[in-house]
Symmetry: C2
Subunit: 369 residues, 2 copies
């Protein structure tokens, strides 16, 4: 990944969606994507300028940029960069380069469907463009910006729909990071938190730290502190006790890929939360834009769960957490069966069981719209 272009003390750099504040998780800037390097939070707020396709792929692989919607946006900008870098070539050469870009960027991570969807969408727009390589790159940028803008709007819609759904639930538990860092707007599950706080209807957010990469402790706690939203961080294993003690009114999580029947891949640990929520009779809400729904995958068995490097579990910072070379199993996601999900909160409204028809109808309506 390229060198950082700016290091902003976290205390002064305020995080916000592009429309709301100065620093976005991903921003397009004169031929490059500027991202917040999420690996370095919360110690340092580093902005990193990704000006080559390889930078984008590396940033996605290493989770410098992460969150299903955010990697979709970054991937879309990556395709633009690749076409710009190809220069003033023939239309056939540009289309061949486009195919390579779609494959290279679209497969940087396997589980979240948004990445492949965004990259394919840019490719479709490019292929439908008449004109030369420059026109094609321009069309790619228009489409990438549209994806980014639509994600921001999706976050707003999710926040609104989720706020209504919450009813009197004021103490929320969440997992991983699903906020401004993970999306092009206010987030998915966290957009609902922001909306509830703005409406004066939030008491506390319990934030699972979310091992191994601690997106909850490092990123969600940082976001919520910036927004002055009351929260406490807990280890992932403490969620059960929190529910047993009556400290939680509802569980809110995001999603990386929702199958056609509602089975949902999300950050590892989500499934256990859903099972606990069911035991305690708590609503378990999954928030995400329709771009996270994958009608082509019939159910959870068809979702590829990314397994990541053992070293993510073996050390944190410079300190070993296991004996050297300890054998490790490190799945990044798990799959929550649809039956454990109380409702989906999407940019097309709230979806209720049975999810097969509800998801199909929402996707069909969106296609018509």
């Amino acid at each position: 990944v390229s060198q950082p272009t700016a290091i902003v003390p976290p205390a002064t750099g305020r995080l916000g969606a592009p429309a709301a504040g100065p620093i976005a998780s991903v921003a397009w800037d004169r031929g490059a994507a500027v991202i917040i390097d999420q690996r370095q939070l919360p110690d340092t707020l580093v902005l990193r300028r990704l000006s080559a396709v390889e930078d984008v792929v590396e940033a996605i692989r290493t989770l410098a940029v992460r969150g299903a919607p955010a990697i979709g946006i970054a991937g879309a900008y990556g395709v633009v960069m690749g076409l710009l870098a190809a220069g003033d070539v023939s239309r056939a050469s540009a289309l061949a380069e486009l195919d390579r870009l779609v494959s290279r960027i679209g497969t940087a991570r396997p589980t979240a469907v948004n990445l492949a969807v965004a990259v394919d969408r840019v490719a479709l727009a490019v292929r439908g463009t008449r004109g030369d390589a420059r026109d094609m790159a321009a069309a790619a940028l228009v489409e990438a910006r549209a994806i980014h803008d639509q994600d921001r709007a999706s976050c707003e819609a999710i926040g609104r729909a989720g706020l209504e759904l919450l009813g009197g639930a004021r103490r929320l538990l969440t997992h991983c990071n699903t906020g401004r860092l993970a999306t092009g707007g206010d987030g998915t599950a966290l957009a609902i938190v922001y909306a509830a706080h703005a409406a004066g209807r939030l008491e506390e957010v319990l934030v699972d730290e979310t091992r191994p990469l601690l997106q909850g402790a490092r990123l969600t706690a940082w976001e919520l502190a910036q927004a002055e939203i009351p929260h406490r961080v807990l280890v992932d294993g403490a969620a059960g006790l929190a529910m047993a003690r009556g400290m939680v009114d509802a569980v809110l999580v995001g999603c990386d890929r929702v199958a056609a029947d509602g089975d949902t891949a999300n950050k590892v640990g989500t499934y256990g939360l859903a099972v606990l929520a069911a035991r305690h009779g708590l609503p378990f809400y999954v928030a995400g834009p329709l771009t996270s729904f994958d009608a082509a995958t019939p159910d959870g068995d068809g979702i590829v769960v990314e397994e990541r490097a053992a070293d993510e579990v073996r050390a944190f910072g410079g300190t070993s957490t296991t004996p050297p070379g300890a054998p490790v199993w490190n799945p990044a996601f798990d799959v929550t069966p649809a039956e454990l999900i109380t409702a989906f909160v999407t940019d097309a409204g709230v979806l209720r069981p049975p999810y097969g028809p509800a998801i199909a109808a929402a996707i069909e309506d969106a296609g018509r719209g």
Copy 2:
């Protein structure tokens, strides 16, 4: 805590129960307790000589020595040290000192019942002794050594009973550390693992890393590697996926305090594992000596769950895991309701539901024995 007396490279220092190998979690040595400093594993195997009561209390509080049976043994030796330090005082002075020691050491940590039980048992032996302060200290040492020896025998009995109970279960999942580091012998839940491995009936142990202090990743993985037992470390949130994928035949955990009805306090995260095991129809076994059973506490509501410092969650090694000063909730234990426990494996055999009568009978039999 006192300065380390020996630093042994983990690769050469082999861990073992006193009867089985050169290094024990706790050993009495000429007026002091020598412990393995468990905070420094797996990087360094440090033996620490605790020669004053304050050293013992500090070692228990900071988890330099940990595991319900091991802190019972260390606490018992602490009482001996305190009486030895009091010197050649009057019998009345020695008894007054004894009361102070019982209170000071017995409350160093609240959740595990073994500590208070062991300290009380030494006190009872001392009070029953005729003779001067020296005789009283000698009686304390005899009793502390008996507690230590009995724990070693308890571990063997648990291993034997558990091996029979396992039947064809060859792939086990465990949480925290319940082995040679946690006890005076081979362990509680891990004694069963050692027994299954020795019998050629073990395929793999999945080891929950066990946040926040990583007793699974740091200690259990180290113990199992030393014993050449096949294992993999996973983050606590991955246990649900492991069960959903059919990678687990049974779950084995230890216990810090079992109430009279079978409700069980153990390392935070245990309750979530029990709920997941029930969903997947997997046996959920709790292993521990009868000294971990507390007939005076009717059910789980009466168990005090220790809440520890926020900094345990906020940083690991020298690296922050949260923003500075992030609000944290850090319960060290949770309570698993008896209904989720398939069986208890104790030094008095296997206990099956209904647990109220089974536990009462086992304790009564042990008292008669």
